[in-house]
């Protein structure tokens, strides 16, 4: 097992999967392909978010980042796996989430059905052994302005900056009048 594909949507659920993917890659001496699939109309250049995530794997695991654009997502993931001779696909799933799993779990399910290799699905609420410390609260959300992990809709520095800019504009308008 030399090539591990980790497909991410940057959600908190894929964070558990990232931990598992890193662990497997490190133990098996495998390379991580970090893949993000975007809408066909979206900009296919790698986002800073992807680079930040790649950095989280640390220096002892080789990481390749990739952005694929197109729909459906599952098809793009499988297609990437085929082209790069991937040995294992790691995906986060939303686990036991009642009704919403019908809507959300479908990407993972489609990948499992069509993948050319084994697929490891990691539930969001991963059960831990008693000897493991509970994971630190993971940043579930990334600020859409600076792409840094944030607990708020827009992170504090960005909010301050935007507010400052707005005030500045208002003042200039008032001066101009």
């Amino acid at each position: 097992m030399r090539q591990i594909l980790f497909a991410t949507d940057f959600s908190a659920c894929s964070e558990e999967a990232r931990r598992v993917a890193r662990d497997y890659a490190w133990q098996l001496g495998a390379r991580i392909h970090l893949l993000h699939v975007v809408w066909p109309t979206a900009d296919p250049t790698p986002k800073p978010q992807l680079q930040a995530l790649a950095a989280e794997f640390g220096s002892d695991v080789p990481v390749v980042t990739a952005v694929e654009s197109g729909m459906p997502v599952a098809e793009r993931i499988v297609d990437y796996a085929e082209r790069h001779a991937i040995d294992l696909i790691v995906l986060g799933t939303h686990g036991r989430t009642g009704v919403s799993r019908v809507l959300i779990g479908s990407v993972a399910e489609r990948v499992v059905r069509t993948a050319p290799c084994p697929v490891l699905t990691v539930p969001c609420r991963l059960r831990r052994g008693p000897d493991e410390a509970p994971a630190a609260a993971l940043p579930a959300y990334h600020c859409p302005v600076c792409a840094r992990p944030s607990e708020d809709l827009i992170c504090e520095p960005c909010r301050a900056r935007i507010r400052g800019e707005a005030l500045e504009r208002k003042r200039r308008e008032e001066q101009g009048r």
Binding site: V20, Y24, R96, V112, P116, T121
Partner: protein, 147 residues
């Protein structure tokens, strides 16, 4: 790497196809492996004249012995040393329960390549397991498999 791997197997060759992969992972991380077979709950076996030939408990014993033998042979062929467990009931349910009891951190199984219709109607065991457990699940589909 996983430390406790649960491997559900039915008695088909397809389901065995996951074993080389499990063996590789178990060797890599020194993991404990438990092989699980889930059989349907047996009823009493009746003869043609309506008399009971084997009672449910006898039938259970027979099935358990049979499956245990099969799993032991399968494991040794694959070069796996592990515990062997036979349970009776609905497969997905028993697999999820066994994973909890074993403290598994990986469930590794081969998915049968059922047609689209059967999936629509039944949903495969592997999918049901994925939905019901909090343990990572590795699904291997032999029809696509590279060695």
């Amino acid at each position: 790497m996983p430390k406790r791997i649960l491997v559900p197997l039915d008695l088909t060759p397809e389901s065995r196809s996951v074993l080389p992969l499990v063996a590789e992972m178990a060797r890599g991380g020194g993991a404990a492996v438990r092989l699980l077979h889930v059989a349907p709950v047996p009823g009493s076996v009746g003869g043609i004249d309506g008399r009971v030939v084997a009672y449910a408990d006898q039938e259970t014993e027979r099935l358990e012995a049979e499956a245990t033998d099969y799993l032991r042979t399968t494991a040794s062929v694959a070069g796996l040393a592990g515990e062997i467990v036979v349970r009776f009931g609905e497969p997905a349910h028993e697999i999820v329960r066994e994973a909890e009891a074993f403290g598994a951190d990986l469930i590794a199984l081969a998915a049968r390549s059922g047609g689209p219709l059967s999936r629509l109607v039944l949903g495969s065991t592997s999918e049901q397991v994925c939905h019901r457990t909090d343990v990572p699940v590795m699904v291997y589909r032999p029809r696509h498999g590279r060695a």
